[in-house]
Symmetry: C2
Subunit: 431 residues, 2 copies
């Protein structure tokens, strides 16, 4: 395969560089057939996949990706964190690689597009370059990150932010992260070797399904991601007084459930009452003692706030706290907010990358919109070390992490077209 | 003991009947020392009791009650449902017994007053009659019902309403109801033998702690119970659409949690917005999938409505349903109410008994108030076969089913004084 790679290189060096408008278009059929092939690995009865990182299905899906990369003449390696990196050489040895890709592991009961589309778009871009006989100045690194769904493990290791304490966490594969990294060809004892320094990369680009319904609903083809939102998370405890639901008159109750309900309504009012795209969610709730015939004395519920702007997040929380104080006073309960330290700060994408992606979409004749990513991605880690851009394609009804995920072949091809044009713009014009 | 009983009887037949104002007063010290003795059986580290029906502690507590009854000269038997019945003979063989009592089993982690006070007040009334040398015309039956906390087993059996399907239910004692009944001296294969027909009883009277905070808060000594409230219970399901809490804008959510919160607030507004003492409670809630980062697609919560008036209960529910329809429409969710068939209908006490109890409280120089019982009691079963009255004494802060239950010795004695005067009024004046 190494020989083939050099051979391919020799052939394409002789080809002239194309202007962007002359570039071949991504082949929707080819991308769809690869997505279908990949979806065989871990396929479940619902038509989705159980391809949890480190599982046999994950190992088989990764083998398929490696096989495709090698077929394209890429020089493939697995780093110590289990990330698959396929390199296409550039013409200027002094330049550092442009990296692009996503992941192929899934959540339990996942679908066939989250992550997969980004890897297949990266491979499609390589095919298009190969077919057009284009050699870029920069080396190109196609990456398929390891264990994205289990906590961005591969990209955290690559950027030096992986916390070794997490190595013992066991996921649905039955393996710990340490065992899993070793099972997919990495080496958890040498995670530092996976680290890539800022000076070793030119840029990072990720194509991903939107996971929201905005593009789908508004009939837009491309989302130019402004950044990955920050997440703050609290456990909110409402302390009232548990009492008999039959013998305690309504006006003598200190009902933690009622106060929690008022707070949930207030959280929604605060989040929707301010300008902007901030979101606030109560996703989990537990009432104690939790019997139909007992007024709850204690309710614990989650509060999650996300936005691209940390100040906006802080203001949203402050407004919620103020409402909580009023509710606690009126209902004779105590409301406390305990910050859960698994939060993440907002990560803007590189403004130059956004402009390049928007222009690439225009050049490809596609409609687009600037938008935040409400979900976390490997790109948020990569943004800490290199100029990073993200390209969204529509996901039907915004569904993700579900067998019902669907992105059309043409929508995937649109993503690959924008990716290819973005790569070439970075390669030829710089940032 | 039988000899002693006849001897006592012989002595008191010669004594004149007292006018109510001349009656001796209940001895608070004696009642308190008996409560303390009883609380040894099943005592737990919190100062309360674990005296769950059929447990060793329950068996020991019952033995103590039987010993007290025998010491008073009562003719003691255990019926096939495990109810302990101690009879004091009357002077008129044609009259049917007046029955009074309560229960001594507790919930797990229970206190020292719920049920116990009613049994000790009944025994105190017997002591007072013995000491005053009064023989009633009617026989008197002191009853300690079996397994009240586990579903009114003893009184349901006595009134012919026990459903044999429940015999296999296992409680915290580790025994099924069938095994438990046999363990305490009953015979689950002959439950019908425990049945008492309407023509076999004159009346039933139960003294009990209030289990609400009304008497305690208002400084009243006696509650004249108007009836035991009915209970209706629904599982309420709110169906929205589970979605990513980061990628789904606030205005595109179908948030089942938010709709559940609005409904919980509306339930409170309906229950407090109508005249009357109806109560409505959301005690249990489950959100699915129940993660901080997922908008709940489904919430199931309980709704319980109680009142003395079934019409009022129906109107309360209808108003809640109307609010639910509005909320479902506004939030693009579906809200359904599934009736849970463990409900009970309101059970009024006998109006004549209420008047007699109120007069008895006046004669004893005690303050009183008419009030519903929000909790269930053996009296609600007995009311289906015989004129029934209930006498409440204050419970500090309305606490029950807790080691923190407390009723003062004098409050217990007040209950015994009213009980004795009620028994004598029924005995001498009829209903």
């Amino acid at each position: 395969m190494r020989i083939l790679s050099i051979l391919t290189l020799a052939l394409i060096i002789t080809a002239p560089a194309c202007a962007q408008e002359d570039l071949p278009k991504a082949q929707a059929d080819r991308m769809e057939s690869r997505i279908q092939e990949l979806s065989q690995y871990g396929r479940n009865a619902d038509g989705g996949v159980d391809r949890v990182a480190y599982s046999q299905a994950d190992i088989e899906g990764r083998a398929y990706v490696i096989q495709l990369m090698k077929g394209q003449g890429l020089d493939v390696r697995i780093d110590s964190a289990g990330n698959i990196i396929g390199r296409r050489a550039g013409s200027d040895p002094s330049l550092k690689p442009v990296m692009f890709g996503s992941h192929t592991d899934s959540v339990p009961g996942g679908g066939n597009y989250d992550g997969d589309v980004g890897v297949m778009a990266a491979l499609e871009a390589i095919d298009l370059l190969n077919e057009a006989g284009i050699t870029t100045r920069h080396p190109l690194d196609v990456v398929s990150f390891s264990n994205e769904e289990g906590g961005l493990v591969g990209s955290l290791a690559m950027t030096g932010h992986f916390k070794p304490g997490a190595l013992s966490v066991v996921n649905a594969s039955g393996l710990s992260i340490a065992e899993g990294i070793d099972a997919i060809g990495g080496d958890h004892t040498r995670l530092n070797d996976a680290r890539v320094k800022p000076e070793d990369l030119t840029a990072f680009i990720e194509v991903h399904i939107e996971q929201g319904g905005i593009l789908d609903e508004e009939g837009l083809e491309i989302g130019v991601v402004e950044g990955i939102v920050g997440i703050d998370w609290w456990d909110v405890t409402i302390e009232g007084f548990a009492n008999h639901a039959g013998t305690t008159p309504m006006n003598k109750r200190r009902d933690a459930m009622l106060a929690a309900a008022r707070l949930t309504v207030a959280i929604n009012e605060v989040a929707t009452g301010m300008e902007g795209r901030q979101v606030a969610t109560v996703g989990r709730i537990r009432a104690e003692p939790g019997a139909p015939n007992v007024i709850p004395g204690r309710v614990v519920m989650s509060l999650e706030i996300r936005d691209l702007d940390k100040d906006k997040m802080n203001r949203t929380f402050a407004a919620i706290q103020a409402r909580a104080s009023e509710i606690a006073k009126a209902s004779d309960t105590a409301i406390t907010f305990d910050y859960v330290d698994v939060a993440s700060v907002p990560t803007p994408t590189d403004p130059r990358m956004r402009a390049i992606i928007a222009k690439a979409a225009e050049n490809a004749g596609l409609t687009y919109q600037f938008m935040p990513s409400g979900a976390g991605h490997d790109a948020q880690d990569m943004a800490t070390i290199t100029p990073t851009g993200m390209i969204f394609v529509p996901s039907r009804d915004g569904v993700s992490h579900s067998p019902n995920e669907f992105t059309s072949p043409q929508a995937m091809a649109n993503g690959a077209d924008v990716l290819l044009r973005t790569i070439l713009a970075v390669d030829q014009e710089g940032l």
